[in-house]
């Protein structure tokens, strides 16, 4: 016989997380993947808002090899550490962030911008 009340599972746990998009804390947690045009056909991909538990340098070394592109970590006054990659890596990056072999992040927290 189980006593419902003693369970540690909170049925409303994710309801709170899903709702009110207005709550600022949730808002800031998004990871933004953006694209910028450079000269000619060249583009730049930036990844902003990665959770601080990840080491950007390590991500970079993995990603550089994986996507065969160069990249750096830029430290921005407002946005913190931002990963910057050469070329349009948005799709690959999104996959990498959500992938089990990657960072295993929730796709809902990732926003891909651009065309």
């Amino acid at each position: 016989m189980s006593i419902e009340n003693l369970k540690t599972f909170d049925p409303f746990a994710d309801a709170a997380a899903d709702d009110d998009p207005g709550s600022s804390s949730k808002q800031e947690d998004y990871i933004h993947i953006r694209i910028q045009q450079r000269n000619g056909r060249k583009t730049l991909t930036t990844i902003q808002g990665l959770p601080s538990k990840f080491d950007r340098k390590k991500i970079l070394t993995v990603v550089r090899k994986k996507f065969a592109c160069n990249g750096t970590v830029v430290i921005d006054a407002n946005m913190g550490e931002v990963i910057q990659l050469q070329g349009d890596q948005r799709k690959y990056m999104q996959e990498f962030l959500c992938d089990k072999k990657g960072l295993e992040l929730d796709p809902k927290t990732i926003k891909v911008h651009g065309f």
Partner: protein, 281 residues
């Protein structure tokens, strides 16, 4: 079988309905294409059965009387005949019908010419009537016409290249009007999404730095519409964007009245592109 032959004949050559019985063969031939339909109609509608029957029985000239015969069966009470006729009619419709649709059922429904004339007695095919229904509906009541498939249409963005490095978005004003949003808001979103900047040129055109294709601008506009135009509850695009309390923006739906907050447009991180940053120190 006289009836079969006759029916066949009818398929190939019909005479005018009104002059059915008396119509001279020559007339028939001339009017043929144009009037087939009429004949049919008349057959069904008019009480010329007696004449037609007589003709059929007497083995009248096939070319002239085909129509009549057809008529006869339709009108006639004889079951056999009726069944045969029905079969023939079907055939006719299959073969001839197409011709008639193309040849006869023309005319401008707007101007009421051809088959759409007020006093026209020709049968109008179901497809044509259906077409007319939808064209009228979309004309007079566009809201209703669009509810079904929720087709929200904005004109495609017009993109021109200015020089080698800039893109002109020519009809931003028109598109903004259609979405009921200020061009400033749309512009801010475009710049944030495309990671670029730009300016407004004289004739309300937007000049965007960078090279963008129409498809790309369109994609961004699509995202904008999903995020800032359509109602999340009823998906209606008929909404207003207003500044609410706390510097938040709210979308109010004019169809269902629901209200939701939307995030402000944020440019986010923007990488140093082009000129090198000035050396520090």
């Amino acid at each position: 079988m006289a009836s079969a032959e006759e029916t066949k004949d009818t398929a190939t050559s019909h005479s005018l309905a009104p002059t059915d019985d008396e119509a001279p063969p020559a007339d028939d031939a001339v009017l043929d294409l144009g009037k087939k339909k009429k004949k049919k109609v008349k057959k069904t509608e008019d009480g010329e059965g007696a004449d037609g029957e007589a003709a059929a029985d007497g083995g009248l000239d096939l070319t002239l009387k085909k129509k009549k015969k057809k008529k006869v069966p339709k009108e006639g009470t004889e079951d056999e005949f009726a069944a045969k006729l029905a079969a023939l009619d079907l055939e006719k419709d299959g073969g001839d019908g197409e011709e008639t649709a193309a040849g006869e059922q023309s005319g401008d429904m707007e101007q009421g010419t051809g088959i759409w004339k007020h006093d026209e007695t020709k049968e109008i095919s179901y497809e044509l009537l259906l077409e007319r229904f939808f064209s009228l509906l979309s004309q007079k009541n566009p809201d209703h016409a669009s509810t079904g498939s929720r087709s929200y249409k904005i004109p495609p963005p017009q993109c021109l290249r200015e020089g080698n490095k800039k893109t002109i978005f020519a009809n931003i004003e028109e598109i903004c009007k259609r979405m009921k949003r200020s061009s400033e808001h749309v512009t801010a979103y475009l710049f944030a999404e495309l990671g670029t900047s730009g300016s407004v040129a004289g004739s309300k055109q937007l000049v965007i730095k960078g090279r963008f294709q129409q498809k790309q601008i369109e994609n961004v506009l699509r995202k904008y519409i999903i995020e800032y135009v359509t109602c999340k509850t009823c998906r209606s695009p008929d909404t207003d964007l207003n500044k609410g309390e706390n510097r938040l923006y709210f979308i109010t739906c004019n169809s269902c009245g629901s209200r939701r907050s939307v995030t402000a447009i944020k440019t986010g991180f923007s990488a140093q592109v082009g000129k090198r940053r000035k050396m520090q120190g």
